[in-house]
Amino acid sequence: MVTASSLVYLIGLPLFGAAFLLLIGRKADKWGHIFATAMSAGSFILGLLHFFEMSSRATEDRAITQTLFTWIEVGSFKVDAALLLDQLSICFVLLISGVGTLIHIYSISYMAHDENRRRFFAYLNLFIAAMLLLVLGNSYLNLYVGWEGVGLASYLLIGFWNKKPAYATASKKAFVMNRIGDMGLSFAIMIAFATMGTVLFEGVKESVDRVGTPTLTAIGIMLLIAATGKSAQFPLQAWLGDAMAGPTPVSALIHAATMVTAGVYLIVRSNFIFDAAPTAQLLVVIVGAITLIFGAIIGMAKDDIKKALAASTMSQIGYMIVGAGLGPAGYAFAIMHLLTHGFFKAGMFLGAGSVMHGMNDEVNMRKYGGLRKVMPITFVTFGLGYLAIIGVPPFAGFYSKDEIIATAFNSGGAQGIILGSVTLLGAVITAFYMTRVMVLTFTSKARWDEGVHPHESPVLMWLPMAILAIGSVTAGYLFTQGDALVSWLAPLFAKKEEYDELMPHSVVTVLAITAVIIGVTAALMKYQFKSVDAIAPSDVSLATRLARNDLGQDLFNEAIFMRPGQALTQGLVIVDEKVIDGAVHGIGSMAVGSGATLRRTQSGYVRSYAALILVGALVLLAAIWVVTQ
């Protein structure tokens, strides 16, 4: 069977695929896509083998490590390039390579007419490799490499159609916002290194007791910033909607199933830090709660089907972050929701791609309608994903969301009540906007533009959608059978604290189902039983307008980040050119005592430079003097 020494091939296969396809060039145009798909599938099969092998071992022997080589060794400090496969990373490996392979298959058909299809597949492979590295690294440093790698691959993929300026701008925004997040991660690593002297997950876990709570809080907050950047959480959420400019399979893979969930992985992986830093943990919950409502509200107003789904992704990840912020009680549920969301959201994105494929790349849902009859398979697979996301039993989303809501309610005190209510409210809105998407796209009257002849997509496209739909139906049930996922992951986390159940699980379930019914009914009243305009009405309430403009997130960014940043650098330029120069000139003249002579020399600049050096030398001397005294 498979051993730890084969871990490298999980990453190696897709990485080889990417390098091979990029290097070999146009010659591979004919078969490059198949090759890339095979590499990804190979990774998935290897992952499955590892999974079976792992489940046959005793609980305490399940984690395995492969050391590749010594990466950095400085003094007493040593980082190996090493891979760690444990109960948590295997979940991600299967999700990434599994959903990844399906999306490869889908793209074969979806990108069939693109002249750069080979390059596209090379980037997809690169992304899979980087994402697998992210979840397989055994230290924060190795994780960081994967973290930057998925960033790079995603820019390449979003910017893939970089002929249009809007797409290029989207890449740019994603780039900048992610940089802020990445800085958070590098600070977290540096603080961990400075205080604990190690960056290994294992080492940090053992050192948690040695360092004080303030340090852990600082690390926790930095990790949270990293997570908000990658996972499009408040306040770094603005890029996700714009990133939808990329090809739809990319949105399904990166912006629904895998990369955007990296933040959740990071927080769950760092559970030992957050458990010991309650303030950081509270912030996690707050960020998650804000984003889950924020995304849901934006989702209600978007007419672009991909942007509506993106807003929904933001909101669903908000649920996961809330789960991850609830500590040992919530980690496993956060991961469960992440996995089920991987199925249904990827499925729905692929469905959206299928619709766009049939509608001449139209993304405005107000120009859809009545597609139920012409695209029956897309309708059914999308519909199953829809039932899963709004949380209708027994579909996948019901189980995972239900658990998060219940855990939120039972997290104790006022926090529990507020959080529980927020997650419930989120469920109502989710039901509303997803029903709106369903109705506008499939069940309302057709509002197509002239010359549009929708048709069902080819088998290579609907097959992956069908497989994901099966996942959307069954995953939740499978994960909760005998607490399968929870007990699988349990050894990684601290023991759950025993608490009094504020609200019995059955009550929560009833509440959640009621929430769904309210949301669905409201949406049906508004859209199914009334006619829908093909052009978005303009005489709408202020709230709708705000939501259409992403609740002013761009204005916010401009005011909070961009303007002050610009002002600071502008100010420094002035300081550098005017103030320092002037001051130095003044002081320099005094120091030399013959400003007039200096001014008469021809070269103005050299004069002030030399004066600066002189002043610097005197200050240096004076400073050493002071230190000595």
Binding site: V74, G75, N162, A168, S171, D576, L612, A617, T628
Partner: protein, 506 residues
Amino acid sequence: MGIFTSPILNYGMLAPILVVLAGAVAGVLIEAFAPRKSRSSSQLVLSVFTLVIALVALIRARGTYSNKAAMNSITFDGAGYLLQMSILIIAIIAILLLADSDKFAAAPTAAPGSDEERQAQVANIRVTEIYPLTLFAIAGMLIFTVATDLIMLFVALEVLSLPLYLMAGLARRRRLASQEAALKYFLLGAFSSAFFLFGIAYLYGYSGSITFAGIAAAITGGTANDVFLLIGISFVSVGLLFKVSAVPFHSWAPDVYQGSPTAVTAFMAAATKVAAFGAMLRIFYVAFAGDVWQWRPILTAIALITMVFGSLVAISQRDVKRMLAYSSIAHAGFLLSGVIALNKSGLDATIFYLFAYGIATVGAFAIVSLVNDASGEVTDLNRWAGLGKRSPWIAIAFSFLLLAFAGIPLTSGFVGKFSIFSAAYESGNTAILITGVLSSAIAAFFYIRVVVLMFFKDPVEDGTSVVIPSIYTRITILVSLAITLILGVFPAPVLDYISQTAFFLR
């Protein structure tokens, strides 16, 4: 009547330096006697050949039983060996850039815009004295890193500086800016040399010795006049800090980097930094180590200011060469933290960082020299917009080097920053660690801004294009990329080698 004893020189250890000097002299002879047509190629062959021979001589010299040469004024130890090797490797790839001789003034002595210059241009005259000048500078740098007495140190400083002043003024286009740069560099360099010499005099006054060992012994003895030592350390530091362009002695760097021919900037930015930091490491680790509690706070302050200032001001630069100049200022700050650490890992990390940074710098400037319009190089960053669409490979290569400067993982820059900050951490200097990380975060911002500019902005149609690199420039860029990548992914062998080899013989 004293009996004349001939000085013991140990030619084996001096061989690399002597080979380079001999090559330089031969270059002067070629300039004087060879026919104009064949000069360019023979100079290039001679220079590369000389440097390779010097490298071989250096490797052969390793393992000789004695470590002192030239009457103890030169110490050939592990650190010196590594530094000399770095300088030679950087010089070999940098000198290939000089082969694009149409970048250099046709008649350097003619006034800009004069008839004489115009005639020389029409006649398509190519000057080649830049090769021997470069070799002289390299010889100075090689001595600078192994000099262990103050006189030798000063001579080396001048030998390396004087040719650089001239080289800065040799640009073919924008000659006024180039000559201005040369003059500024010369005046300010002379100014700082004066400080340096002044400091040397005081150190002699303090210790009664011109050797590093003598100064170290005097500090340990602790009986001499402290004021002299203080002035000595301060002013010698000024000279060295000027060479490495640390704030507030940095003001020359942006102007000189911008005005000089790009090939010269590449060499100057990379090799001079190695030489100057090499000398700095030696003098602070060997001579001044006993007095660390006096100078460490001050150098720490300078390092902090340098990092922050360089990173912040670089953000607002609109010219790629000026931006790289401020980035080199910021890097000087990072490197200073290795000097201040004053421990073995600080020494190892600084040497690694110097080599990695030098190699990446040569590559980056080589790429800058490729972006041209009809009137010469285009250094205005706004006109680099959309370069990724027109010349994806060049843009990718430049981005990779910028990411190395920014210290992103899988590049040499990341390993370098990581090791230098861990050395600072080991020496207990948390201020350096925190400020260093913060300012590298700021610095990452402006590097990435350029990447964004090249890939995500639409190109402007103004005739800016990337010239097809000559085979020499191509070699330089490829070697630089390869080393930057290898040092990022598999740095362990090099780090190992450095940590086994690097030590100072006191």
